[in-house]
C-alpha cells in the first residue's frame, strides 16, 4: 500500500510516497514538486551576474552558492591562462563567512527541526526552545554581515577577492559576535565548554553532561536511532577548505576524490512529478554533509560513534552537533589569521576577455555544492548547479536507492520521517 506524506519546514516542501509492508517502510520515493529554472536564467548573462543570481537559489545557504560561483569563475580564469592568486586575508574572510553560514544552519536545524521532531516521536515535558536556535543563528548572521553587508543573499565575494576592506574595528566586531555566540552555545546548548566537548573520545562522555545536547543524545538513544537510519556507509567530501579534507570513504577507509567523477541521473518518482535529479560519485550513491566531513577528518568522537553505531541516524545527528562546535573554534582561528594590511582584491583580467570553462566546488552546510560555468567572452553560455541534497536525497529505484531512501527502509513511517530530516533536507536547492 502506498501512503503519501507531506514534508514541510524544509525550505520548501517535499512529498514522500511510502510503500508499506507489515507496517514497516519497504520502499519510499520522494518528489520535489516545484521548479524555477535558475540555470537557464543564468544563460546569456554576464558571468559576474552569477554572483548575485546564484545566491538566490537558496535562502539558507546562499553564501555557499556565492562562493561556488566565485570559485567557478576563478577556475575559468585559471583555465584561460589567467590564474588568480588569493592572499590569506581573502581566503580567511571568505572561509569565515562561509563557516558562519554553516553555523547558523546547524543551530537552526538542531533547535527548530531535530529536537521538535524527536519530541513528536517521543513526547516529553521539556520545552524544545526553538528561539535558542534563532538567537544563535542571528549572531552568526551578524558576523557574516560585518564583512558581507547582509545575510541572507550577500554578494561581497568577487573573482579576485572581496569587496570589503575591513578595519580592525570590523574584525573586532566579528570577533565579539563570535565570542558571544560561543558563550551562548556553551551555556545554553552544551552546558560545558567547547574545548571539553571537542575533547570527547567516547559516546560515554555524554553522561557527564546535562544540557540540551545531552538531552538530544539520550532521546536519540531512547528512540533507538542508534540502530536505525543506516545508509551505504559511504561518504563524500569534495570542497577544498581548511576545515575538512577532500575524500571519499568506504566505511573508514579514506581515499582521494575528484569532482570530475560526479554524474547525474534522472529521479524515479512514479507517483508525482519531481524536478529533482540524483547526483552520484563514480556511479554510486554517497552520503554527503557533516557526518562525511567529520569522518574525513577522523574526528575521534565521531569515529567512536561510527564504530559503535555506523552511519545511523544517531551518528548523522551527533556528527552535526560536533561539527558545529568544531566550526565555531575554527572560525575563531580564521579571524585571528586576518592581516588587515593585506589587499582585499587582486585585480584580474577583464571578464570580457575570458573564454573558458570553470568548476567551483564548496562544502555547503549539507555537503558538496558544485557550480560549472562555460564562458564565452565574459558571457555565460552554460551554467550547471549540483547541490548536496541531490547526493543525499534525490529519488531512485528500489534496486538502487539513494542514501535517504535506503536510510528510510525497514522502519515505521514516523521513524522514516524523522530519519528523512536527519539529512537536513533543503527542497529549494534540490530543484533550483
Amino acid at each position: 500500500m502506498i501512503t503519501k506524506q507531506l514534508v514541510d519546514q524544509i525550505e520548501g516542501e517535499a512529498s514522500i510516497y511510502f510503500d508499506i509492508k507489515d507496517e514497516m517502510v519497504d520502499f519510499a520515493t520522494i518528489s520535489f514538486p516545484h521548479f524555477r529554472g535558475m540555470e537557464s536564467i543564468l544563460k546569456g548573462k554576464n558571468a559576474l551576474d552569477a554572483l548575485v543570481i546564484t545566491p538566490r537559489v537558496c535562502g539558507i545557504c546562499g553564501h555557499a552558492h556565492l562562493m561556488a560561483s566565485v570559485r567557478a569563475i576563478e577556475n575559468a580564469y585559471k583555465n584561460a591562462g589567467h590564474k588568480i592568486n588569493l592572499n590569506q586575508k581573502i581566503e580567511s574572510i571568505r572561509e569565515f563567512t562561509l563557516l558562519m553560514e554553516m553555523v547558523q544552519n546547524h543551530l537552526k536545524w538542531i533547535y527548530l527541526t531535530i529536537i521538535p521532531e524527536l519530541q513528536k516521536l517521543h513526547p516529553t515535558d521539556r520545552n524544545s526552545k526553538p528561539l535558542k536556535g534563532a538567537f544563535g543563528a542571528s549572531l552568526a548572521a551578524k558576523a557574516i554581515a560585518t564583512f558581507a553587508g547582509q545575510w541572507p543573499h550577500s554578494s561581497y565575494m568577487i573573482p579576485g577577492g572581496i569587496t570589503c576592506d575591513p578595519t580592525n574595528i570590523d574584525v573586532l566586531k566579528a570577533q565579539s559576535y563570535l565570542d558571544e555566540l560561543i558563550s551562548f552555545f556553551e551555556k545554553e546548548s552544551l552546558g560545558i565548554s567547547i574545548d571539553d566537548f571537542l575533547a570527547f573520545e567516547s559516546c560515554k562522555d555524554f553522561e557527564k553532561m546535562n544540557s540540551d545536547i545531552s538531552y538530544l543524545e539520550s532521546e536519540l538513544i531512547k528512540n533507538d536511532m542508534t540502530h536505525k537510519g543506516h545508509s551505504y556507509d559511504r561518504f563524500i567530501v569534495l570542497g577544498e577548505h581548511s576545515f575538512t579534507k577532500v575524500s571519499k570513504l568506504n566505511q573508514t577507509k579514506a581515499m582521494g576524490a575528484d569532482v570530475k567523477y560526479v554524474s547525474e541521473s534522472e529521479a524515479y518518482s512514479p507517483n508525482e512529478k519531481t524536478y529533482a535529479i540524483n547526483a552520484l560519485y563514480k556511479n554510486n550513491f554517497y552520503e554527503a554533509g557533516p557526518l562525511s566531513r567529520c569522518m574525513a577528518l577522523s574526528m575521534p568522537i565521531v569515529k567512536n560513534m561510527h564504530r559503535r553505531y555506523k552511519d545511523s541516524a544517531y551518528s548523522r545527528v551527533m556528527a552535526r552537533v560536533f561539527e558545529l562546535a568544531y566550526l565555531l573554534k575554527k572560525s575563531q582561528s580564521l579571524l585571528k589569521k586576518i592581516d588587515i594590511s593585506q589587499s582585499s582584491f587582486v585585480s584580474p583580467e577583464n571578464i570580457k576577455n575570458i573564454t573558458a570553462e570553470g568548476v567551483g566546488v564548496v562544502e555547503a552546510p549539507r555537503g558538496p555544492l558544485i557550480h560549472k560555468i562555460r564562458i564565452n567572452e565574459g558571457i555565460i553560455q552554460e551554467y550547471k548547479i549540483i547541490t548536496p541534497t541531490q547526493f543525499n536525497i534525490g529519488s531512485s529505484t528500489q534496486s538502487n536507492p539513494t542514501p535517504a531512501q535506503k536510510a528510510m527502509s525497514g522502519v515505521s513511517i514516523q521513524n522514516a520521517l524523522f530519519i528523512f530530516r536527519t539529512f537536513d533536507v533543503c527542497s529549494v536547492c534540490t530543484t533550483h
Partner: protein, 389 residues
Amino acid sequence: MNNQVDISFDKLYNEFENRIKSLEKLPALKENTSAEKMLIEKGFSRRDFMKWAGAITAMLALPSNFTPLMADAIKVVDRLPIIWLHMAECTGCSEALLRSAHPTIDSLIFDYISLEYHETLMAAAGWQAEENIEHAMHKYKGQYILMVEGGIPTANNGSFLTIGGHAKKGLDIAKEASENAAAIFAIGTCSAFGGVQAAIPNPTGAVALSEVTHKTVINVPGCPPSEKNIVGTLMYYLLYGSLPALDAYNRPKWAYRLRIHDLCERRGHFDAGEFVENFGDEGAKDGYCLYKVGCKGPYTFNNCSKNKFNEDTSWPVQAGFGCIGCSEPNFWDTMGTVNEPLKDKLYNTTFSGLGADATADKVGLGLLVATGVGLAAHATLSAIKPPKE
C-alpha cells in the same frame, strides 16, 4: 480665517485610539494569552518593548508621543489573522525575518499572529498545516491579511509549483487566498514583481501576485526586504485601518519614497566626484562612491541606506558592493550587468523612450533621467566611464 495646518497630530491620535478600541472588541486569535504576555514569556522586558514601539513609530514618521499608542496597538495585533503563503522562492524572506536580527519582537509578533507563517515554530506540519490554511481561509473570510512570499509560476497552467497533500497549484491557491483577503501584501521582490525566476527567459512563466488577482496588492519588495519594512507595513495597516500611500509600483511611500542614493553613507564622495574605479583600489579602501563599479543606488527606491540589515550591522554598500537595485521591477534584466554602471546602457534597455518629465510616482525608474541631470550638475558625468574600456 484660520487655515493653519493641524500640526499637533491630535486628530490622527484620536483616530488611532478609536481604531485600537474597535479592534479590541474583536475576538483574539488565541485565548488566555496576549502578544504582550508572549513577549514577556520570551524574555523581552517592558523596556525592550517600548524601545521597539518607539522605533516603529519613528519609522512610520509619527511623532514620538505616539509611542505608547504603538505599544497599545501591539496588544490588539492578534485581532488580525495573517495567512502567509510560500510560492516560487528561496525562503530568503522568511530567513531574513526569522533571524536577521535577534528573534526580534518583529519576528515574534509575526509568529504569534500568523496562521501559516514560520511553520518552523508551529506545531503543525504536513497535512495539518494544509488543513490549517484551508480552515483559516474559511473561518476568517474577508478579514485576514494575506502575505505572499515568492513569484507565481503560470507556465504549463502553473504546474511548476504544487503545494500540499492535494498537490494544488500555487497559482490557484494564490488566487483563492487573494479573493477573500482584507488586505494583501506581497513580501519580497518575487511576489511583488516576479523576482529572479521571472528573469529572461522566465522558464516557469513566473509573475507578480498582482498579476493573478484583481485586488490591490501592496508590494514590499527587496531581495530580501528589510524586516522593518515588513512589520512597518503591518503596523500601518493596523493603526490606520487603510492602505498606506503608494507609489507607481504599489510600494508604501513611507518606506520606498527615497532612493538608496539619497541617504547613502557614500553620497558625500559622489558629490565630490570621488569614485571607486576598480574593486580593491585606493578609493575602495577609502570608502568612495561605488557608482562606477555598478551601484544602482541612484535608480533604486528603498530605505536600506537608513535601515541596514541584520539589526543595523551593515548593508551591501557598506561592504563595498554596490546596490543591485533589488527592489525595482525586473531589475535582473534591466539593471544588469551588476558590476557596470547603468548610464551607458540606458537606451539599450527597457528604459528607452521614457520622457524626461517622468516622475518617481509615475515610474520609479524615471528618476534615472533626473539622476543624469544631477550627475551633469556635479560635472562628473563626463568623467564616468565603465572601468577598463
